[in-house]
Amino acid sequence: MSRTIHLLCGATCRTGLRKFALLLAAAAALCAQDFDWRLRPRFAPPSVPADNPMSAEKVELGRRLFYDSRLSGNGTQSCATCHRQELAFTDGLAHAVGSTGQLHPRSSMSLVNIAYAPALTWADPNLSDLAPQALAPMFGTDPVELGLKGMEQTLLARLRKEPIYQSLFPRVFPQSADPFTVENVTKALAAFERSIISTRSPYDRYRYDGVEDAISAAAKRGEKLFFSGEKAGCFQCHGGWNFSGPVRFAGGPAVEAEFHNTGLRAFYKAPNNGIERHTGRPSDNGRFKAPTLRNIVLTAPYMHDGSILTLEGVLDHYASGGKAIPNKSPAMRSHKLTPQQRADLIEFLKTLTDVELLRDPRWSDPWKAQR
C-alpha cells in the first residue's frame, strides 16, 4: 500500500521504481481510457453496468451484430430491420413484423438515448439492462422476432466463421477463454445501443446553446404550451431533456420508471394491458412508459399499438382527455387548443428532430461498404 502511494509521487521515485511507475501509469491510462460519448457540454453520461464497460471496439462489434442478419434464424432480419437509423431507429409500422412474418402486438420503439432509460420496452418495470433485453428479440417466441430459439450453437457457429468477428470478439472480450458466447453478443449489442445519444436538434441549440433563432416563433409558442401545466401539460409525463420522464445517469439517483394510463382504450386487453402484465395488479391496467418525443415526426405511427397515425391525431387524443376510466392518470385533462395553438405545438415537436443522428456514420450499417 505504502509503495503505491510512493509511486504516485513521481518526483521522489528511485530510478528502479520509476520504470515500474511509468508502466503502471500507462496501464492506468488504458483502463481509464473513457469511452468518448461526444456529449453536449454540461450533460452527464449515462450509467453503465459494472460488468459491461464501454469501449470503442465493443461498440464497433455491437454495431456489426446489430446490422447482421445472421442474428435471425432464417437470415432475413437483424435488429436494424425494426430499428432503422433513418427513422430514428423505429420501423415506420404500426406493428413490428418478425422474421417469420408474425405480427408483434406492439409497435417498434426508438433506441435514441436508450442508455438513460430507467425501464425498457413499452411496459416492463423490471427490465432496465440492455444486454438481457436483447435476448427477447433474439430468442423470444411470443412473438417470434429474430426467431433464434434453440439455435444458440448455430448462431455462434455462424459468427465464428466471419473473419471480422474472429478478430473482434477476442479483442473485445480478452478474459473469455471462448469469447463467442450469447452473453458476449448481448453485451456488445448493449454497448452499441448505449452509444446512440442524440442532443443535436434545433431545440437543443435553442435551449442549451442559447441560439435564439434556432427555432421559429411558432415553435417557441408551442414550447410554452408543451410546458404549461394548465394547457397541454405534456411535460408532466414527457419531461426532462429527453422528453421521456425521469432518466438515469452516471452518479445520479436511482430513479424509478414512471408508467401512465392515458385513456387511449376503454379497456386494455392482454398482451397490451400495460404493466399489469408484469405486476398482475388491475390498477396497473393500461399503464405504459411515456416514450421520448425526440425525433417524433419520424416515428409514426404512434402509441404502443400504432393506433394513431399522425401527430394531429395524437393532439386530438390528449385534447379529448382520453376515455373516462378509473386508471387514467390525473395529468390527463381535456383541453381546447385553437388551430393556431395546435400548429404551434406541432412546430415545437418538429424542432426535436436531430437530422445528424439519421446519417451519423457511428451508427450506420458497417456491412454496407463490403456488400
Binding site: 454540461r42 435551449r207 410554452k224 404549461s228 432518466v247 445517469f249
Partner: protein
C-alpha cells in the same frame, strides 16, 4: 400588502445576487438571480425573530403566465424556520431565461420534484390566512 411591488429584470440585477447549481436529469445548470427572502425584504415582509403572529399564517401564491399556481409558506422560506432556499432566477448559464423557462422562474433545489420550481413566473401574491 397595500401597494404591489413590481420588479423587472433591471431591478433584480441591482439586488443582492445569488446562484444555484442544479443537476436535474444529469444536466448541469447554473441559475442566477435573487433569493426569494431578499425579494420579501424589499416588499416589507418581516423575517427571523420578526416573523411572528399573523405573518406565521402567511404564504406566497406563485402564479405562472399560464395560470399555474403553487405555494410556499413564509416560515418555510425563512432562515430561522424552514430555511428552504428558493431562488427567483432570471438567468441560466450566463444567459437571460427565455421561452418556456423565462423571463423569470423559481428554482427550489431542496425540493425533490420540480413542480414548485415554477417556470414563466408572473406574480407572487402574499396571503395571510389568520382569521
Amino acid at each position: 400588502m397595500k401597494q404591489p411591488l413590481r420588479l423587472n429584470a433591471e431591478d433584480l440585477s441591482k439586488m443582492p445576487r445569488a446562484s444555484v447549481d442544479t443537476r436535474f436529469d444529469g444536466v448541469a445548470v447554473h441559475y442566477e438571480g435573487v433569493w426569494l427572502t431578499e425579494v420579501l425584504k424589499k416588499a416589507g415582509v418581516p423575517s427571523g425573530v420578526e416573523l411572528r403572529g399573523k405573518w406565521l399564517t402567511g404564504y406566497l401564491l406563485m402564479e405562472a403566465e399560464d395560470g399555474y399556481q403553487v405555494i410556499f409558506t413564509l416560515a418555510d422560506l425563512d432562515p430561522m424556520f424552514g430555511g428552504n432556499p428558493v431562488l427567483l432566477a432570471d438567468a441560466a448559464n450566463g444567459k437571460a431565461l427565455s421561452g418556456a423557462e423565462g423571463p423569470f422562474r423559481l428554482v427550489a433545489p431542496r425540493d425533490r420534484r420540480g413542480a414548485r420550481s415554477v417556470r414563466m413566473l408572473k406574480k407572487i401574491e402574499i396571503v395571510l390566512l389568520r382569521k
